[in-house]
Amino acid sequence: MGLRIQDLTKEYGDTTALSGVSFEIPDGSFAVVLGESGAGKSTLLRILNGLTEPTSGGVYLDGQEITNSRSDVGMVFQQHNLADELSAYDNALTGTFNRTGFVRSLLNLQPVEDRELALEALETVGLLDEAGQRVDRMSGGQQQRVGIARALVQQPALLLADEPVASLDPASAEAVMTCFRETAKKRDLTTLASLHQVNIAREFGEQFIGLKDGEVMFVGSRSELTPSILEEIYGEIQTEELREGTETPDSNEPTQTNASDIGARL
């Protein structure tokens, strides 16, 4: 059964971000959404997580329409989007908020099972020893693994990742993606990630969805993802590298944004 997306459309005023997007992913598979920036990858993932309302269309998981999407779907962001000032453990615990009342969450009175769940999730991503550490003192790769742990604690039916490694150096990107794949396998989670680095996508993805200008160009497995299809999705420049086999991973600088850097104006 798996994930079925049916005729999803999203319009912002006059611009159409997604137009009639439909595809299916088998249960438990690791799927990758490919596409240039502006192709609609983020919009698609945000709709799946319920952060954005679709104009029309539906999302079905194992035949059931997802209604409570934020609780049922875990999301990992490019910029991690953690509470920087809190520990890795506290951040993982925020994954329980969909089932914890406000006062309980404020006083850190989650049930023991939930607290163990948070620590287990940190163990899964290899950060059990760093559980008490503030996340803004962690590396980008570690922060992203905390992000994965938070999503796991939600006990999601579907795991999403919007450009999870775009802000990381190549080595951390590799480590985070490996962590992702193994986590998904261990917990038998259907995973959908958007990636713009084709080489990483080919290495880790099992199913591929190609988006261009808000429309689905391609759905298929790794072997079906031929260079000519990549060319269709991306245009020529990016695929050149891939053909020659000299893939240089995107060397985006690890962005360590510290939003809490207040005093500068004091």
């Binding site: 934020r70 049922d72 509470a83 925020t94 969450s105 939600q154």
Partner: protein, 331 residues
């Protein structure tokens, strides 16, 4: 008769307007730039003249041209001698008689009065700060939807438009002319001042963590408490320290209307023409305010340095103070 090849009119025209039509492009451009500069200078002069008129008008409205203050000038000089009583040290070096200041500071128990002033400022700040945080957050558009958030912003604006001194007058029927009234006044004032600073700070809160918490299916109070407030802790402490500085100064002025502390001593000495004592009190106020400012600025720069710098504990902050002070003095 006029054999002058370059008559005055032509020279002036060249000076201010520029060369003649048949000149080269460079000369024409030069002329244009000259004209532009002339226009700029004229408008600057007009602005200066305008400011001068404004000053004259304001002084006039303030009654500055009455001759009285000129008549009283000798009295002011006499008062200065009382403010700073001279003394010959070792029958040789003339300097201000510090001993008399010190004597009064001890006699009048200025340390205790300063304690009251400080207590008023601290209590006002500590009582007002949580409400300022609450109003600041509720005034934010992301927390409270558009028209409603202006309810909270409006309340803060109204509080701010009333000076602390006037708040004290409003509270007099409740607490009399006492430190209680002063504390209530400063608490109210803090809501307006700190709340406004925090509103600005909240506008700059990073959306990422908020969205991150939202994506977990958290409710709105949880999103605010875990996505927004953690980002506000540092700015909140830093701005609260800043407001505390201001509140110490305000507490002195509230004392002048009789609400306790150093301000009371100050008015009493002034009204009984004990000018040396008055200056002793002023010097004590300077000492108090500067101490609070130093602690506040130290805290704020420590918050600013953030996590990259090894943290100084409060203990180190206090114990290491004299050394750091002398370091900065002899650097």
């Amino acid at each position: 008769m006029s054999t002058d090849p370059d008559p005055l009119g032509e020279r002036l025209r060249r000076r201010f307007v520029g060369g003649s039509r048949e000149d080269s492009a460079v000369k024409r451009r030069h002329g244009e730039l000259k004209r532009a500069r002339l226009v700029r200078r004229l408008s600057q002069s007009a602005l200066l003249a305008g400011i001068a008129v404004l000053l004259f008008w304001s002084l006039n409205a303030a009654g500055f041209w009455s001759t009285e203050w000129v008549q009283y000038w000798p009295q002011f000089i006499d008062a200065l001698a009382l403010y700073f009583p001279p003394k010959l040290y070792f029958d040789l070096v003339p300097f201000v008689d510090v001993g008399r200041y010190y004597q009064f500071m001890e006699e009048a128990g200025l340390v205790g009065e300063a304690g009251i002033t400080l207590a008023i400022a601290l209590a006002g700040t500590i009582m007002g700060a949580p409400l300022a945080l609450l109003f600041g957050i509720l005034g934010n558009e992301r927390v409270t939807p558009f028209p409603l958030n202006f309810l909270f912003r409006g309340v803060m604006s109204i509080i701010r438009s009333i000076p602390a001194l006037v708040w004290a007058l409003i509270y007099v029927p409740l607490g009399g002319i006492t430190p209680v009234t002063a504390t209530l006044a400063l608490g109210t004032d803090t809501i307006g001042e700190l709340g406004r600073l925090l509103t600005d700070e909240l506008e700059e809160v990073d959306d990422g963590p908020i969205e991150g918490i939202r994506s977990t299916g958290a409710g709105k109070p949880q999103i605010i408490a875990f996505g927004m407030i953690p980002q506000m802790v540092r700015p909140f402490i830093a701005w609260a320290m800043f407001v505390l500085e201001n509140n110490v100064r305000s507490a002195v002025s509230l004392g002048i209307i009789g609400a306790g502390g150093l301000g009371v001593t100050l008015t009493i000495e002034q009204q009984t023409f004990q000018f040396t004592n008055m200056m002793a009190t002023i010097l004590f106020i300077v000492g108090l305010v500067i101490s609070v400012e130093m602690i506040s600025q130290r805290t704020r720069s420590y918050l600013r340095e953030g996590d990259d710098v090894e943290r100084l504990s409060v203990y180190q902050l206090v114990v290491g103070f004299p050394r750091r002070m002398s370091d900065s003095l002899f650097k």
